[in-house]
Subunit: 282 residues, 2 copies
Amino acid sequence: MHFNKAAILGVGLIGASFAAALKKYGLCGEIIGYGRREGNLKRAKAKGIIDSFELDPAKTCTDADFILLATPVGNFVDIARKISNSLKRDAIVTDVGSVKGKLVRDMEALMPEGVFFVGGHPIAGSERSGIDTAAAEIFRKATCIITPTGNSDKSALDKVTAIWETFGSTVKLIDPDEHDRIYAAVSHLPHLIAYEIVNTVADINSSYLAFSGQGFKDTTRIASSPPEVWRDICLLNRDNLLEYVEIFKNNLDRVSQYLRANDSESLEKDFTEARTLREGIG
Amino acid sequence: MHFNKAAILGVGLIGASFAAALKKYGLCGEIIGYGRREGNLKRAKAKGIIDSFELDPAKTCTDADFILLATPVGNFVDIARKISNSLKRDAIVTDVGSVKGKLVRDMEALMPEGVFFVGGHPIAGSERSGIDTAAAEIFRKATCIITPTGNSDKSALDKVTAIWETFGSTVKLIDPDEHDRIYAAVSHLPHLIAYEIVNTVADINSSYLAFSGQGFKDTTRIASSPPEVWRDICLLNRDNLLEYVEIFKNNLDRVSQYLRANDSESLEKDFTEARTLREGIG
């Protein structure tokens, strides 16, 4: 498997790490980057992460046989519309976005005849953004979710799967809507909560933040995640997220009731259930 | 500063680490442990953490000139009542509990004439409990909050402060009620939330837990904390905690409203405020 020209749309932590991995494993000839910030693209080129760059997504994709979308997910549809007429027949378009579901179907619908979209979501990266922490290794021993649909091209699906396996990731195939239900629970809700824990302490008394220990720091580490990335994810997965926020609030209401009733036994039982589940994931 | 006999009531992670630090820095002669589980006390003795043990708190404190309360905070008042008649004049009683406030005043009131209570709370330890992770070093470079009141004996306060400084901790003196407002915000609320994030995912679909990445694991690490310890802390600081849960729920309601209104700008602004504050604490 070898691509002549790979277009990386969005050269941030994940896009740049993907480009680095393509090079490391010799999967492509030339890599061209697209982004909104020219300074960042220049730095990526100087670091050898990309070979060249464009500030226009359509130009970036001309002649590319592999296209990766790695911008905030809110830009995907707009970018797909812009690149649609420039896409080469048999080109593979994939992404690394944290939302799938309807977005995958929208992307499929925007592909021209003979161009195939396959949705992907590597469970990698961190709260750090940008190319300075980018590395091919972040995908090693990571899980990558691939979300085929009834419209997926088998050959494109196999190639995208093979790329991630070459990067050292374990690929799991999951329905796009199920993906969004899962990640709303184990990722999007925790991010929303982490941001709001910090904002809550600020509401109470922001000087209290200076007293935080390792527990607070770990619990809110992901509140350092890039706001524009998480704004898009939360909005695009908002139906699941809103439903889960209510379930979470019901849990808070239940333990609040235990506190008000001084119900030591129920509170300990509640915490023990959580602890047992948490211990189960290592 | 040297104590002839130190009584450690509660030989878990913090109690055992304190005992280890007393020995390491040569601050006392004999160390006697008390706890409810004889097997644990035998292991602590075999490991050389304590020199001997008792299963009765009053006997443990007989002739002790230094007494540390390191059980779950819900037992402090009961223990204070039991040991009160056994306490030697000029003995110093201190603790490592995560709740101060009214508990400090209750403890002061339960001390016999000539015995001094000084409240302490080292910001150390982890979600792991028990003596196997105990070590004198956990207090090095940690903060220890000491909570003097108008009733505090100056000499006892100075000695307790000196102990923590000898252990390598930075001591901060804080009013007991202010301590509880601070730690309800930066510790007790995050613990409650971490437990309830896990329980929420279980409500949604417990099989989703297997998909969790590092973000989920960090955010919920403290949900592995010992339930009986956190049950007591939450109950003893429940007024602050209940107030803060409401503030937190208001924050969740506000961002939920942004999601429903598809208000991308407000959502990003909200996340950016949180991120800026979070970055500020390292």
